[in-house]
Symmetry: D2
Subunit: 414 residues, 4 copies
């Protein structure tokens, strides 16, 4: 039999495989590992990704992770990646408050960076990251942000419908990202601790739908008109530290009995906004919207047509063609799994559904295409683009706290 | 054969049939006529309604209307009803700006009043009506407001689920009433003329969902936090006067060519609010939400369960029981057509659907029950109750115009 | 005020109101009474129906029924209607085994007949009725059968889509009518007694979907290829006689203890069939299809398009346009409530839903239109037409019992 | 950094990795490659699969395939796998008519076999395979069939609901697998050529739903009562041979002009059946069910509850609990993505959907678990089990062709 010689060592060059370094081994670490390992199977890439090295905090866990997911090497010092010649792009999959330090260091080391969303934990961090990205760009170093839902075929197709004028003038954007795992019984995980998580539902969930709304409409928010920030559950049980995602800082001192600690993030943030071209919008993120497990949904109403998307049925786009004669108008449930839909043709035959990880696989493929000098299937957000989403997040929080409308132009100056 | 002697003349008494007088012969006039004619067929009432007289503006139209819908007499002077002994209750089904004058005159004449929603065109009118209702009440004269959706079996059942503690503490109320008949091609109907219509989508549609949210939760709004009022289509074509619902005041001078006139009402109003017991809420009304023909919908998320309702599927209530073990949790689509559901047993067998008019029929039956000294199946809004909805409407408008949060306590003082 | 002089006495003439006589005061009696009372309110008819007289078995109940539903006179002898000059059409709303005797007598007395479905309890009865209808027709006397679902706007619209060639060549017809009230705990109602009910789910439910499939496709069944007839629950509890719909013949002797009796009808019948123009089809009726309360549904797949209908969402038609480019194809949920849809414009504005009774109201209006010399909105089934459905019902039973394919040409000869 | 030493060579042993050999590089080759590569990432396995070698017909294509999907070696002679010591299990992913020869050879060589469904192209082949499996079993060699839908979490959960008595006595099984890619414009692919494909929709699609119905109910079909086999499109265009899945045998002679050839398989097969414990059932497979792209769906109605599944929404199971009080009964849409659902906890958090390939990944993991001496999460079909499905397929064809009921006991004797 012929031997398969794929697994050669990789060096950073402008041709050949693209060496990937990953920081982070939790939920996003797993999702991104899947992406890097599958991208070249489902896409014909000029330059395939190679999984060079992964960095995590715990040595044993990181080594096990590397073996399981196919990373060639592992380390507990993420700065090792900066000097690793086999690494051309660093994938920053860590909590928000670490994004700035890591991304900036990588960019300065000449590595492309693909950073988890949201861009940063604070607007100040986000600005520093944009400045670093601008400097890097001059040297041909690129930035990407993992707003993975853009690459869901239904979302990318909605974007194209708007771009092609099928919706006409847009009147309404109605977006919410609702989850329900944050009820009163849920303990004080790190996600409820402001110093570790940056924000609660807002940074985690509103970030996604602001990006999605901007992406689909091709328009920008100019003002947050009003906003509510709410922490429904102010005290949560402290749990014994067991490592991983469910321990919290406060947990360490709790060896006897069931203690409770303060939740220092929002459980829900709602806000109203205006878009530059005249649309009015509502956004809502919650972790206590009982019955909604992962309902990332958006509806956009235009003069000529409307779309609806719900991630819980991620393979479907609902489309209303208002140019049809009235008796034939209806919400049409389009299975976005046809070869004619963005990305879908790379996976399975029509109506053989794809899942959550495909958003990451498709983004990994697009990142590789861009690094190889090509184009993504639909636009990839870079730091500059993700900064606009960050400004909307910040405006919503200010509006809630200062009880007034907040224009974006207050925030986006450097 | 035995002769059926039902059609006797009626006098205002505390027993025997209840004589009804109707003012208004348009859309609501038809809906209410259906209600009064069918209530005693589907419900066993102590005192049946009798359709005594109808008042309309145009003599020929009113006479034809009376014949068609079974009113015993007709008039073009609504004040005739005040002195008509056969009339015990007056049903005011006219545009909002006429509610106060007519209702107050009827109450002063000792007639019960069932007034179309919203209570009034202005907060000042609404206050006058409440005062008149309080005075009348002392004399045993009662008031009712046609918030018909309360009597939709699914809505009434949702109300009972909350009342019975099945939702627990409520976190979120998410309500919108979306229509799409108001696109740029729609001419300048009376509904787009502020002096005739009072308000646009806000008074027409938000009124319903504010009432519904209050009714289902049993809670009250305390503050409107932020609000957007928008008129997307500022100029609309003036149409040649043809009478009926689609002519407008501006139309009279338009004999040649296609003129346009100013729309003086809102096309859409969105607002965020807080409830007394801690829930946070969003409300939205629009006539340009393309693809939504009559989507009066509400979702309420509580600690123990959630409900969703959409009037476009009015026979169904979606119910999420969060007390089930996780693997069995799901949105359950309950057909609210069982004899065990409020009102449903009065109509057809299970899953033989009811329609829009049943809300009115059931309300007519409940009104008759109350006048006969009994109880409604679920609470009927009187003027006092409808005034609370009016305050929320007013707060939303002030918040939008003054760009600030507006507490309800600013508005509800007499 | 002007007096409304609508209630004059009526004589059988070719102009003026059409006097209606009704036989039957149970479920269908109520539904048809609603129809006759509302037809002239929602439709502009040349000749309005007038509710002349109703016949029922129990004198008190019949009188109460007459008063409640607005019948001018009542009788316990249905033959009184034959000689009643005010009666021009008799509405036969009795159990199936009585249809033949009553309908034939009425036709011979020169009365138009509107008979409940299915046409008859047996094929022999059905043939006699067709012969009587043919004889009457020569004298200008007409027949109608209450296959009410044809007049559901969504069903009528589906019929038009096929007629207009929007589906192209039809490949599949997939129809089922599923209910679930017939579980083991349901007692031995008359509907489970073959001598009273004729058949079980088959005559009650398959009758509807056979008619609907024939109506929508415009095609005829030529053969039943295979069939299953099943009585899952062979013994049911006998209940104490309480009159009304829930007592059974066997119940009379049961004064002490809980007895059980034999169910002598089918609980479910499934069959496969071929249509003349090449479509293949499946039909299924059941009363034990747990979770399906009244799911009268049909799906038709054609070369150019497909439709789906489910009576539990009776205002909606799902439409798939296969001539669209692949990326835009989807099941479109059309709310058939627009003025452009059949019948819908006679009721409420778009997406203000109609319910079960509208099928009867629209049919009553169409019957009046035909008697006045006009045309129905969509085709009305007469005895001749309903006989074709009867033949399919019969073929399915023979196929199940004789375990062989049964061609329709075996059955439809006179 | 520590080097990851995962990629060692593999030998067939009872410990250590399990060497996999794959035959077939088309659609199923890709799906199974994904499965073998991901199983050990999402599942903690005692013995991980290693992708030793792949066999395909075309040398270049096979080598490219091996590189892309991560197979260590490739060959154009599938018999090489028989003697390859690194191969412990052979995955037979070829057309049906090749299953018997390949599987039997592998079993005789002492290799475990995982064969694509249906078991075989003919009943005779299937019997030979069962005999070979029985002989192999005595030597500890195991067989598996890729009925992948069993491992869809919603399907596996439905199976458990039945097993746990939540449905009670089962009345109805209603299954169909509908696709629409086989319209008249589709050319004469190999799938329409009987000698290459064995059968059409029947073997491809009915096989799946027969297996699924048997799996969920835990019951067996005893008789096919009636059946229709139909080829709607008898002639199809012959296409120029381009290799791969879309060329056909007849295509080779077609160098000039557009020729047509005979389709020699069924486009659709419908049949009615009875189960041993009393349920009655319908099955339908079609490739011309316009609007249904991959609607593999089943509904099962029991005395205490019902379930519905549709692969186009594969993450959801609809569940009706008939033991609830009537007012709370409804179809509950359960997202089967919770850690409490079978398989789901191995992938992403709740409501982060999985897709088509997860069925294969989970099956690969279960196969590895069984080979390592453990248990699958839910039952894996072996050749013996898949033979029962084959008998039902055969009975349906005989019933259609001989126009009579066909009991299974006619077919399952050795």
């Amino acid at each position: 039999m012929a031997k398969n010689d794929r697994e050669k060592s990789v060096r950073t060059t402008s041709a050949g495989p693209i060496g990937i370094g990953l920081i982070g081994t939790k939920f996003m670490g797993r999702a991104h590992s899947t992406a890097w390992s599958k991208a070249s199977q489902f896409f014909d890439l000029k330059r395939n990704p190679v999984m060079s090295a992964v960095a995590g905090r715990n040595p044993d866990e990181t080594a096990v992770f590397a073996t399981k997911w196919g990373w060639k090497a592992s380390t507990t010092n993420w700065r090792d990646l900066l000097t690793d010649d086999t690494v051309e792009l660093v994938d920053v999959s860590t909590p928000n408050h670490l994004h700035a330090e890591m991304s900036i260091a990588c960019l300065e080391a000449g590595k492309h960076v693909a950073c988890e969303k949201p861009l940063a934990g604070t607007l100040a961090d986000a600005k520093r990251m944009v400045l670093a990205a601008r400097a890097a760009r001059k040297k041909g170093v690129q930035t990407f942000v993992w707003y993975n839902y853009r690459r869901c075929p239904a979302v990318a197709f909605a974007h194209r419908l708007v771009r092609d004028g099928r919706l006409g003038r847009i009147f309404h954007v109605r977006a919410s990202y609702l989850q329900d795992w944050g009820g009163p019984d849920t303990p004080l995980l790190w996600r409820f601790q402001g110093d570790l998580a940056g924000s609660g539902a807002h940074g985690d969930l509103n970030a996604h739908i602001i990006d999605m709304a901007r992406f689909i409409t091709g328009d920008e928010v100019t003002e947050v008109v009003g906003s509510i920030e709410e922490t429904f559950v102010k005290e949560r049980a402290v749990i014994a530290s067991s490592g991983g995602e469910i321990s919290g800082k406060g947990a360490k001192s709790s060896s006897s009995g069931r203690k409770s600690g303060k939740s220092t993030v929002d459980d829900a943030v709602l806000f109203l906004a205006r878009f530059k071209q005249g649309a009015i919008a509502s956004f809502e993120a919650s972790r206590l919207a009982t019955g909604n497990q992962n309902r990332n949904n958006i509806e956009i109403n235009g003069e000529k047509g409307s779309i609806k998307f719900d991630f819980e049925r991620m393979n479907e786009l609902e489309w209303w063609d208002h140019t049809l004669e009235p008796k034939l108008r209806g919400w049409s449930r389009i299975m976005c799994t046809d070869a004619a839909h963005p990305y879908a043709g790379h996976y399975w035959p029509a109506a053989h559904l794809i899942g959550y990880e495909q958003g990451f696989i498709s983004q990994a493929a697009d990142i590789c295409a861009v690094i190889a000098g090509g184009s993504p299937v639909v636009a990839l957000p870079d730091f500059e683009d993700a900064f606009k989403t960050q400004c909307v997040l910040e405006a919503a929080i200010r509006s809630a706290r200062e009880r007034r409308p907040v224009p974006i132009r207050e925030l986006d100056k450097f």
